[in-house]
């Protein structure tokens, strides 16, 4: 008996509430929509635009400025001057060792070959000879192209076997007359040259970014251009891949050594 009473009571109350709502809201509703909706919509839109613009500015301008600290190289190095003087161009200072490894930035012992004494009038050279050559101390150069410890890069494979120019990855650094500001990522400690300057991720030159994707970009292009040439290469490759997926027996695309990705295996560039 008691259960049936309890069940009945909410059912009985419910219609009353609905009726009440309808009665009270009906006279207010026709007044508000014309004024209220337009006004609120405009404000919401304005706030959206303001918020959108603010977040764009924070994300694209403020955050990168906060993220990267600006450092100045210990010596203002003039590449153009050195390239003009050196007999073998880049390789005079950035040479291969006998074991195939690449020397990278030269050590002080290599610089001493020319700079045992001050040769010219340049105050930077005087500073270099006094502070480093005479003290027998290595210059703490900040290396723009420094990669993480897990990366293996073979200069020999690229420069000697593939006959690539230094410019392809390092840009026209040999023509520079002074050192750029070194922007260091405060979180990772790597140079901004690795991540790239352009916040939208668009690069105009091959040397503007040095992430793994950029290695992959170039290698993908190379893989196709070995057989095909011209602008069509990427399109024909895509078509070939699509056909090979749809009809695996009809066409075979040359695969890399990796079993997982069918590209080049990870251990080619990792260590």
């Amino acid at each position: 008996m008691s259960a049936s009473e309890e069940q009945n009571s909410p059912e009985a109350e419910a219609p009353d509430e609905e009726e009440m709502d309808v009665e009270t809201s009906e006279p207010i509703e026709p007044l508000k929509p014309e004024e209220g909706k337009n006004g609120a919509g405009a404000t919401i839109f304005l706030f959206f635009i303001l918020g959108f613009a603010a977040s764009l500015i924070v994300g694209w301008v403020v955050f990168p400025k906060l993220l990267y600290s600006k450092k100045i190289q210990p010596i203002n190095f003039n590449h153009a001057l050195h390239v003009a003087e050196a007999a073998e161009g880049c390789e005079s200072c950035h040479y291969f060792r006998e074991d195939g490894s690449f020397s990278g930035v030269p050590t002080i012992s290599h610089c001493i070959e020319c700079h045992e004494n001050v040769n010219g009038e340049d105050p930077e050279e005087k500073k270099f000879v006094r502070e480093y050559v005479e003290a027998g101390k290595e210059v703490p150069w900040l290396i723009y192209a420094k990669q993480p410890a897990s990366v293996f890069f073979s200069h020999a494979a690229h420069v000697i076997t593939a006959k690539m120019e230094c410019v392809a990855c390092h840009g026209p650094i040999g023509e520079s007359t002074e050192t750029r500001i070194y922007e260091e990522n405060r979180l990772t400690g790597y140079s901004r040259d690795i991540w790239g300057k352009n916040i939208s991720g668009i690069k105009q030159h091959s040397w503007e970014r040095m992430k793994m994707d950029d290695c992959a970009d170039c290698h993908m292009q190379k893989a196709t251009s070995e057989k095909e040439s011209g602008v069509q290469q990427s399109l024909t490759r895509q078509l070939r891949e699509m056909v090979s997926v749809a009809f695996p027996n009809v066409m075979e695309v040359k695969k890399g050594s990796s079993v997982q990705t069918e590209k080049d295996a990870c251990f080619v560039c990792h260590k």
């Binding site: 494979a157 295996a265 990792h270």
Partner: protein, 271 residues
């Protein structure tokens, strides 16, 4: 490109360990840890937590004197080619992160520490227990971090690591070959650290696809049976799983060969 039995200029680096020569001295373990920056703890009493890419096991024949016999069995990563040698080794097939990969060009199972997120599926899949998990960040005794091998990246907490057949040595040897205009390595140019450290000369390393290499001559792998040794004194661990390992063991003692797998009584007679 059909990648059935390795060749097509592809290498298949493998190892042959002569258990009759192994004295169980542990030089290979020490050399491996030093070469590959393998972390260790102050207290290594809990062997389940110890990371040893190369581990020497002690086998006993279970008989009492005068028939008691002991055999030491060094165990690196087997670099399994998987059933049919298609590169689907137990660990590679389960990795959800493409952190471990099989290279058809070298036959080496790679481990990319920066890709690994530590799910440890591979550890569960590996029947040889060659994979180890970093439960802690490595802590080196003071000053030791200056003596780490710069060619091998140091692993962080939360990733899996294992023997790489000293792949960085292959990278460096290829560097030298590129500089000299070659693309092929001599047998002695790429040798693992444990091979060179073994004072008894028990370990041999080389390309199993190359009939001129010592490893090929020692075991005479049968390409029709996924590289099963034709030398009756050679065997592989857990042969019946068809993981197709690239580490072969040689022993003149029957009980040692029989302990390579959980053979039935009938099967044991043939070994």
């Amino acid at each position: 490109m059909k990648q059935t039995q390795g060749n097509n200029g592809n290498k298949k680096f493998g190892m042959v360990i002569n258990l009759d020569l192994c004295t169980g001295c542990g030089s290979c373990m020490v050399a491996c840890m030093a070469e590959n920056n393998v972390p260790f703890k102050e207290d290594e009493t809990d062997k389940l937590d110890s990371i040893t890419w190369m581990r020497v096991y002690k086998l006993k024949n279970g008989k009492s004197w005068p028939n008691a016999d002991i055999c030491y069995l060094p165990r690196p990563c087997m670099h399994c080619g998987g059933h049919g040698d298609h590169g689907h080794s137990p660990c590679v097939s389960v990795c959800p992160a493409v952190a471990t990969d099989y290279s058809m060009a070298t036959g080496i199972v790679s481990q990319i520490y920066t890709r690994c997120f530590g799910c440890r599926y591979c550890m569960a899949a590996c029947p040889y227990h060659v994979r180890y998990f970093n439960w802690w960040d490595p802590v080196w005794p003071e000053g030791m971090e200056r003596f780490l091998n710069p060619d091998v990246s140091v692993r962080m907490r939360g990733v899996v690591e294992k023997c790489s057949f000293c792949f960085h040595r292959y990278q460096l040897a290829m560097n030298k070959a590129f500089l000299e205009g070659r693309r092929v390595l001599e047998e002695d140019e790429y040798q693992s650290a444990c091979t060179q450290a073994c004072p008894a000369g028990a370990i041999t390393f080389g390309d199993l696809n190359n009939p001129e290499h010592a490893v090929h001559q020692l075991v005479q792998p049968d390409p029709k049976h996924a590289g099963r040794p034709r030398n009756p004194k050679a065997f592989r661990l857990l042969e019946r799983l068809e993981t197709n390992p690239k580490v072969y063991y040689v022993s003149s003692r029957k009980w040692v060969r029989q302990s390579g797998d959980n053979y039935l009584k009938k099967e044991k007679q043939k070994i």
